[in-house]
Amino acid sequence: MSTEGGHLLEIRNVAKTYGGGAKATHAIGDVSFTVDDREFVCVVGPSGCGKTTLLKCVGGLLRPSSGRILLRGSQVTAPPEEMALVFQEYGRSLMPWASVRNNVLLPLRHRKLSRAERKALVEESLDAVGLTRFIDHYPWQLSGGMQQRVAIARALAYQPSILLMDEPFASVDAQTRGDLEDLVLRVREQFAVTILFVTHDIDESVYLADRVVVLTHAPTEVKELIDVDLPFPRDQIATKELPEFTHLRGHVYRLIKREQAQPEQQLATATAATKGDGA
C-alpha cells in the first residue's frame, strides 16, 4: 500500500548526465512523475530519449546525477528487493547454461525459503506464463516469445511488488507480441503487481496502460501525463476498435511526432547511454 498521502513510487526531478564539461550529454533533463500501487504506467517517447536510462535509474542499476527515486518514501540507491526488471534482450539476460527451471530459480536461491516453497513458486510462475511443459528445456531451445515468457516468469517468481519492463516485446514478432501483452495484463491481475513499462510502440502503450507518461527528446522531461480510461478487461480486437482508443493513440502519436527533434541530440544521447551503462 502507498505511504499515507504518498505514492508507491516517486520519481522526483531525476536527471542523468554522462561525461563532463563541454562533452557532457544530458540524457535526462528533469523527469518527475509518480506511480501508485497496482497501477500500470507506460512510458513512451521518441527514440534516444533515455527511456532505458530512466528505467535503470528507477531500478537502482544507475545512480541519477540529480534528483531522487523514492520507493515507499525511502530513496533507491541499489536494486530494491521488491523490484524485478525484465530486459528487452531476453537472450542475454537468461543464462544459457541453466534450464528454464534453474533460470527461474536463480533469484530465489538467496531468499530464506524452503526447498518446497521455492519449487512451488517456480512452478506457479511458469504455469502463469504457460510454459509448464518446458520447465526442463534450455532457453535457447525455445522461441523468442517463449524465452521472454521465461524472463517474465523469473521476475514473477521473485514476488516483486513492482515490475519494471524495458521494451520487453520489441524483439518479438508482432503476433507473439499481442499474446505477451495480454499475458502481462493477466499477470498484473493475478499477482497484484505494479508495472512500469517502457516502450516505443504507441499502440502498445495505450493498450496496456492506466496512465501513459510521454517524454520529450533529450534532455528528457515529461511532456504530458495521460490517463487511459479504457475499460477492462482489454481485448486486442475490441479495445482497439473503440473510438476512445483511436483518439488516445492519435494524441500520443502527435505528441511524439512533434518531439522527433534534432537527430544529433538523439545520437549523442544514445551513444552516451550505451557507453556509460553498467557503471
Binding site: A78, P79, A279
Partner: protein, 280 residues
C-alpha cells in the same frame, strides 16, 4: 556506482573519468604497475635478507641484478645471447616458411585437409622435447640440432592457425566473389589470404615463444652453444648466482620477443576486428 558486491564491469572509465580525468586513466595504471613490480622486488630482497630462504638457495635481488650487470659487460655473455637468438630466429623463420604455404594449401583445399587430418592430429601433440635424445644422436650438439628442434615445435601452432585463418572467411564474401566471376586463384589471393593475416599473426606470437623455449632447451640439454648451455655449465659448477642472473636474462629475452610479436598481432588484428578468435 554499483550495488554492493558488484565490481565495475567492463569499462569503469565512465566513473574514473569523472573522478580524476587524465590522472586516473593514464598515470594511475602506470603507477600501480610500477608499485607492483617494486613490491615484488622488495619482497624478494626481504625474503632473502630476513633469512626466510637461505641465500645459497635464493640469492638476494640486488646480488642477482648486479651479477647480471657484470655479465653484460663480458663478451661470453653476448656471444651466448647471440647464439640463442640465432637458433630462435632460424627455427622460427624456417617454421614460418614451411607452415604458412602448407597451411594455405591445406586450408584452401577441403580435400587435402581431410586427407591429412589424421597425420596432423597425431603429430601435433608430440612434444618436441621428446625428440631431444634423437637429435643428440643424429645431428649432435650442433646448431642444426637446435634449429631442427625449434622448427619442429614452432611449425605446428603456425600451421594450425594458418589453416583456420584461410578457412574462416565469411562464405557470403566468397559467394559474392564467385558470382562476379572471380577465379579460384584470385579468390585465394585477394580474399582468403588477407583475411587470414590476423590468424597468422596470432600463430607467430605463439610460435615465437615455442621456438625460444625449444632453442633454449636444446642448449640446456644438449649443450649446443647459447644461454642454456652456459646456464648448465654454471649450475654444474655450483655458481648459483650466475644461474639466477642467466634466468633473468632469458626472461628479458622472452619478454622482448613477446612484446614484439604481441604488438605485431595487435596491428594485424586491428584491421580485422571480427577475426579475433584464436583457433582452438
Amino acid at each position: 556506482m554499483s550495488a554492493p558486491g558488484v565490481a565495475s564491469v567492463g569499462s569503469a572509465s565512465g566513473e574514473t573519468r569523472a573522478v580524476g580525468g587524465a590522472f586516473a586513466t593514464r598515470l594511475a595504471p602506470a603507477l600501480v604497475v610500477a608499485l607492483s613490480v617494486a613490491a615484488f622486488l622488495g619482497l624478494w630482497q626481504f625474503v632473502v635478507k630476513a633469512g626466510l630462504i637461505a641465500e645459497q638457495d635464493l640469492p638476494a635481488m640486488t646480488t642477482t641484478f648486479s651479477e647480471l650487470w657484470t655479465m653484460m659487460h663480458t663478451r661470453e655473455f653476448w656471444t651466448a645471447f647471440g647464439q640463442t637468438v640465432r637458433g630462435w630466429a632460424l627455427g622460427l623463420g624456417i617454421a614460418t616458411a614451411l607452415a604458412v604455404p602448407t597451411g594455405i594449401l591445406l586450408g584452401s583445399s577441403q580435400f587435402a585437409q581431410r586427407a591429412f587430418r589424421i597425420p596432423v592430429e597425431f603429430l601435433r601433440p608430440i612434444p618436441s622435447a621428446a625428440l631431444i635424445p634423437l637429435l643428440f644422436l643424429t645431428l649432435g650438439t650442433t646448431l642444426q640440432s637446435e634449429v631442427f628442434l625449434a622448427t619442429f615445435g614452432a611449425f605446428w601452432p603456425l600451421l594450425v592457425q594458418t589453416i583456420y585463418g584461410v578457412r574462416d572467411v565469411d562464405p557470403v564474401v566468397l559467394d559474392t566473389a564467385r558470382s562476379f566471376g572471380v577465379g579460384r586463384f584470385e579468390r585465394l589471393y585477394r580474399i582468403k589470404l588477407p583475411s587470414s593475416v590476423p590468424y597468422i599473426a596470432t600463430g607467430l606470437r605463439i610460435s615465437s615463444a615455442v621456438a625460444l623455449i625449444l632453442a633454449f632447451t636444446a642448449e640446456l640439454f644438449m649443450g649446443t652453444p647459447g644461454l642454456g648451455h652456459i646456464m648448465n655449465v654454471a649450475e654444474s659448477f655450483g655458481l648459483t648466482v650466475q644461474v639466477y642472473a642467466l634466468a633473468l636474462a632469458t626472461g628479458f629475452l622472452g619478454l622482448a620477443i613477446y612484446v614484439l610479436f604481441a604488438a605485431l598481432e595487435r596491428r594485424a588484428l586491428r584491421w580485422h576486428p571480427s577475426q579475433r578468435a584464436e583457433a582452438p
